[in-house]
């Protein structure tokens, strides 16, 4: 009995924490009589969300779309560059300092440049999502390939395997857990990227919605937007976590550990 209750608690811990936090939030706002234009209570956020459901959904779809397109480009570019960096030491030497430097630039500083090039709206949002999220994919794929056991490579080479054979039979399958781990990080970063871009330069998307709402002191709507982004992020994260488990079951057993 006690054991079952503990199991139940562990399984539902995250939901229970959310409920407790919402309750605290509500009590705090109502008890201290915080004005709604500063910090709206959850009930106020909820009613704003229900009331403005359609525009919120429209903007959410825009954000979701730009994020996914940017993320997809990031995956393709990250995998291709990751394979190059992980396979050829010369590419690693040449490219790595440049990439690290580029990754250190806050992407919000890059948005104005993109706006000059592409105008405001969808394209800068997609590109920002891409720019912010390809790096973890690249690093993880490269790490997965570069940490190939030299003896395993010897086994393959002594069979007369070409570089492509080694990549296909050993390198890529071995890098798969690293790749899936990076997708979880990359998708959440992609949301950050597209929303940043929308807040700076767009008339569509959750980022724009929040900017517009905050300039008219509609804090309930701002919070509704925040929550929508959070929910989308969690759902996508869980999707990739599930895929990771599904496709790389072997990596979660035995001695092969996986970088996160």
């Amino acid at each position: 009995m006690a054991f079952n209750r503990r199991k139940f608690m562990i399984r539902n811990a995250s939901w229970m924490l959310i409920v407790v936090l919402l309750l605290l939030w509500e009590i705090l706002c109502v008890g201290l009589e915080v004005p709604e234009y500063l910090f709206p209570a959850p009930t106020a956020v909820w009613s704003a969300g229900v009331e403005r459901w359609e525009p919120i959904m429209m903007h959410a779809w825009q954000t979701f779309f730009t994020t996914l397109v940017g993320f997809a480009i990031a995956v393709v570019v990250g995998v291709v560059l990751g394979i190059a960096v992980g396979t050829y030491p010369i590419v690693y030497k040449a490219l790595y300092p440049l990439l690290v430097g580029f990754n250190s630039i806050p992407k919000v500083a890059f948005v104005p440049v993109l706006v000059v090039w592409f105008g405001i709206g969808t394209v800068p949002a997609i590109l920002t999502a891409f720019l912010i999220s390809f790096f973890p994919v690249l690093v993880n794929v490269a790490t997965g390939l570069a940490t190939l056991e030299p003896e395993l490579e010897d086994v393959m080479r002594s069979l007369g395997a070409s570089k492509l054979d080694i990549l296909r039979k050993v390198g890529l399958p071995r890098a798969l857990p690293y790749f899936f781990a990076s997708l979880k990080v990359a998708i959440t970063l992609a949301f950050v990227g597209s929303v940043i871009s929308e807040t700076v330069a767009s008339n569509m998307g959750i980022g724009y919605l929040m900017m517009a709402a905050s300039s008219s002191m509609d804090m309930a709507l701002v919070f509704a937007g925040l929550i929508v982004i959070g929910v989308m992020g969690v759902v996508m994260y869980e999707l990739f976590a599930w895929m990771e488990k599904r496709f790389t079951r072997w990596a979660n057993r035995g001695s092969n550990s996986v970088a996160v």
Partner: protein, 259 residues
């Protein structure tokens, strides 16, 4: 009939750097089983890399089957101390890996998959792993992984099998079991074997000829034929003859260590 020949081979991994091995000359007959023993750091593994063409000699010549070696050789089987099985493949799939790479199997893979699978299953059963074909490496014990690793090294019927301390990480009982397994496989369907080990009993039990190497730079100090009759059994390892063979080798190694 000479199969592998070393002619005054030296190798430095870096240009102008220290030599890993110096002036090594030896020859291995076809289907001979040789063992190379010596203290760690004597260039035993370098020897393996040279035979398989993964490294090129700085000076001297290495011949395989009458031809000078240049570049990685095809059709060599290798097994190491770590089994290096691919964790995303089952035992059967791991054993079949060389067939996906080495010709002529590679191009026949599609047509003859069933036949190759039977071949792999038979070999797996032969080393005592029947029933474990569809298990993943992490579900196997260390000894079983090593059996699978040796299957993988032999499935494509290489003419040369290279073993780099293959039983080094196993417990004594499992190790001796695998000695017998390897000897049986070799006697049934002979192939040339180069075994690198630091276990003198292992060398004497398995090899026709034992080479003792000195410490860096590695040189061959002694070549010693083991004329014990085959098949050798674990019982034999407790006989006078066996013990004296081991003892002689032990003395040579002891002499190196004193220097």
């Amino acid at each position: 009939m000479e199969f592998v020949t070393f002619e005054k081979v030296s190798l430095a991994y870096e240009e102008g750097g220290p030599l890993a091995i110096r002036d090594v000359s030896l020859s291995v007959r076809k289907n001979e089983f040789i063992a190379v023993v010596g203290p760690s750091g004597c260039g035993k593994s370098t020897l393996m890399k040279l035979v398989s063409g993964l490294s090129n000699p700085t000076s001297g010549y290495v011949y395989l089957n009458g031809r000078e070696i240049s570049g990685p050789q095809k059709c060599i089987g290798m097994a190491f101390q770590a089994s290096n099985l691919l964790p995303w493949r089952t035992t059967l799939e791991n054993v079949m890996l060389p067939l996906e790479i080495v010709q002529p199997y590679r191009s026949q893979m599609r047509k003859k998959r069933k036949e190759f699978e039977e071949m792999a299953r038979a070999l797996i059963a032969r080393v005592g792993l029947a029933g474990w074909e569809d298990k993943f490496p992490w579900e196997l014990s260390g000894g079983m992984q090593q059996r699978a690793s040796i299957c993988r090294a032999l499935i494509h019927k290489p003419e040369l099998l290279m073993l780099d301390e293959p039983f080094g990480a196993l417990d004594a009982f499992t190790r001796e079991e695998l000695w017998c397994m390897l000897q049986d496989l070799w006697r049934e369907q002979p192939f040339t074997v180069v075994l690198v080990t630091h276990d003198l009993r292992e060398a004497v039990f398995l090899a026709d000829t034992v080479y003792v190497m000195s410490k860096g730079p590695g040189e061959i100090l002694v070549r010693r034929e083991v004329d014990l009759p085959r098949p050798r059994t674990l019982e034999d390892t407790y006989t006078e003859g066996f013990a004296s063979q081991v003892h002689v080798l032990r003395d040579h190694i002891g002499a190196i260590r004193k220097h």
